[in-house]
């Protein structure tokens, strides 16, 4: 289709990332694919250790040894990101792709002022900018993220600001060079709920203004529902389900997604309804089992789940899941159709 052929902002195909630890190879990311377009927010959901952050770091080229991209491709506006040298990546970071991290408390350097840290991002990508101009841009940016009393803030140190304020600074820092893609790695996890809402609102607003794509990494489905257009659900380095946000929420195809939804508190739930946790803990990534990694925790687990990784089954437009249950559905439907077809014939 012609629409598909239009170049996307970011395309990740069959990405494999491994960590070579003394204990052996850990396949942190095991064959995931997705794309993000301009003006689009894509959520990546999964519990800690599922490979969300690793995958994000490989996009921005911050994967540290012993981590290594083993297979797959990452293209940003048609350019192969994996083929770039590290010094080319330096120029890309910040200006084309920016990243916001989880913990605003530790992500700002405690010994430099806010102003210093903001302008240094600007000046790294635009050598000709004067100090005054850089300061002006930084103050504009701070105002944009809703910080008042900007001139005073510029001279303050990170520890003098509150957590929410610091996350705003982090966002300002990410956006100051107008990147095309913003990766937000759990940007609201460390914040109070009220501040969370403000920050999410702010991010959506800024996205509309700058037409950028956002990859939003979180384990909080509530946040996903609020900001994302589409969602990828990751489990143990694999993408188990992917689709538009509404379909994921109303017609989840993978038991893990269902479990996540059931364990999420809802405002509209009946008062006696209980939250249902997912039993068990994630698999050991050092010795991943042959079959579906979620099988031991899955209430619907079948014999085949323990033996083979399920293939992806398309469940709708851009909605697919990797689960033998869905394969079973498909096979049964096919058989039914076959017999019906024979009857019809």
């Amino acid at each position: 289709m012609s629409e598909d052929k239009k170049q996307k902002l970011l395309e990740v195909k069959n990405l494999h990332v491994s960590f070579f630890t003394p204990a052996g190879e850990v396949k942190a990311v095991n064959g995931i694919s997705y794309d993000v377009d301009y003006d689009e927010v894509m959520g990546i959901v999964g519990e800690s250790g599922s490979g969300k952050s690793v995958e994000a770091y490989s996009i921005i080229g911050l994967l540290q040894s012993p981590g290594k991209v083993m297979e797959g491709s990452i293209t940003l506006e048609g350019e192969d990101m994996l083929a770039k040298t590290s010094s080319e990546m330096v120029d890309y970071r910040g200006s084309q792709v920016a990243m916001i991290f989880q913990n605003p408390m530790t992500c700002l350097n405690p010994v430099y002022t806010i102003g210093n840290q903001l302008t240094e991002a600007l000046r790294a990508h635009d050598k000709s900018i004067s100090k005054e101009d850089a300061d002006k841009r930084a103050m504009e940016m701070l105002e944009q993220v809703g910080i008042n009393n900007v001139e005073k803030r510029m001279k303050q140190y990170p520890h003098e600001l509150s957590g929410g304020m610091r996350q705003r600074v982090m966002i300002a820092m990410g956006l100051i060079c107008h990147p095309k893609l913003l990766i937000a790695d759990e940007p609201t996890t460390a914040l109070d709920v009220t501040i969370q809402a403000q920050i999410l609102e702010l991010m959506k607003e800024l996205q509309k203004k700058n037409h950028m794509g956002i990859i939003f990494i979180t384990h909080n489905l509530g946040v996903v529902a609020e900001v994302c257009d589409k969602v990828s659900v990751m489990y143990a380095g694999k993408m188990v389900e992917q689709g538009p946000v509404d379909e994921i929420f109303y017609e989840p195809g993978h038991p893990y997604t269902m479990g996540l939804l059931r364990s999420m508190p809802r405002v509209d739930a009946e008062s006696y309804e209980r939250l249902i946790p997912i039993e068990g803990s994630p698999v050991d990534m050092l010795n991943p089992p042959e079959g579906c990694p979620f099988a031991p925790r899955c209430e619907h687990a079948m014999k085949v789940c323990l033996q083979k990784m399920p293939p992806y089954v398309e469940l709708g437009d851009n909605h697919r899941a990797a689960c033998w249950l869905r394969v079973q559905d498909a096979i049964e439907a096919q058989k039914k159709e076959g017999t019906e077809g024979k009857k019809n014939e």
């Binding site: 911050l62 330096v90 910040g94 992500c107 405690p110 010994v111 790294a124 140190y157």
Partner: protein, 313 residues
Amino acid sequence: MRKYTIRRIFMAVVTLLVVACLTFILMNAIPGNPWLSEKAPSQATIDALNAKYGLDQPVPVQMVKYLGNILHGDFGTSIKMQKNRAVLSIIMEMFPVSAKIGSIALLWAVLVGVPLGCLAAFKRGTWVDSLLRIVCTLGISMPGFVVATILLHTLCGGISGVKVFPALFDGSAKSYVLPCLALGFYPMCYLSRQTRTAMLDSINQEYIKTAKAKGLKNNKIIFKHALRNALIPVITYLGPQIAFTLCGGLVVERVFSIPGLGRYFIQSIQNRDYPVIMGTTIFLATFIIIMNLVVDLCYKLVDPRINLSNGGH
């Protein structure tokens, strides 16, 4: 900051007082009296001596009196080694030599150790790092007298034909070289190890990730973001090293026969010259505690996290 400074100074004063009292009490716990020597003096002589040195009064009175005297700079007089000479004047004669060697040693230790530590951190995992790690672990494993005697033996005529430095300390610039080298070796290795750890710690911090995500060049990340944060904790290691260097001086002064306070102190212990022991202990302790205080306050000054907030802990 002010609150912290006041509290810190108060603690230092209390510590000093405790050290002084402890010294005095320990000295008083010694059985017999200091006048016992080869020939037992008569009771009358002992009484006279006790009266002369105020030893006939109750201990608390003696203690208060002693502390009061110290405040006036009166550390008592030597009773054995240099009879009747004021302890303070002995200290004032000996200490400059020790202090000179100590400060030169510490200076080279900092100037060499810190850059070496940074180098090891940058080259982490390479042969440079391994080599430095082994040398520095060896450095903190060799007692001062081993380093000192090796230097003395190899460079001062022990091996025939090699006599680069004088074996006897004569106060010339050349005779300072080996003692300072020997004394500074341990702190150099120690600081280098600590700097490496601090640097690696700093490199693993999240703000380094932020700096990388901003697209800063590697050099800028290391020299602007990592180094400054790494050097702040290294300052705290300086305090204990000052104390260590002063005490390590005892050994080095013995090996090189340097007429410093350390050697004199050891001799006074061997000769049981109690006023000298007491005076020197209190003097050195005061010096070390004050240096610790200064280093601590410097640390707080460089670290903006504490500097601008009220108090801190």
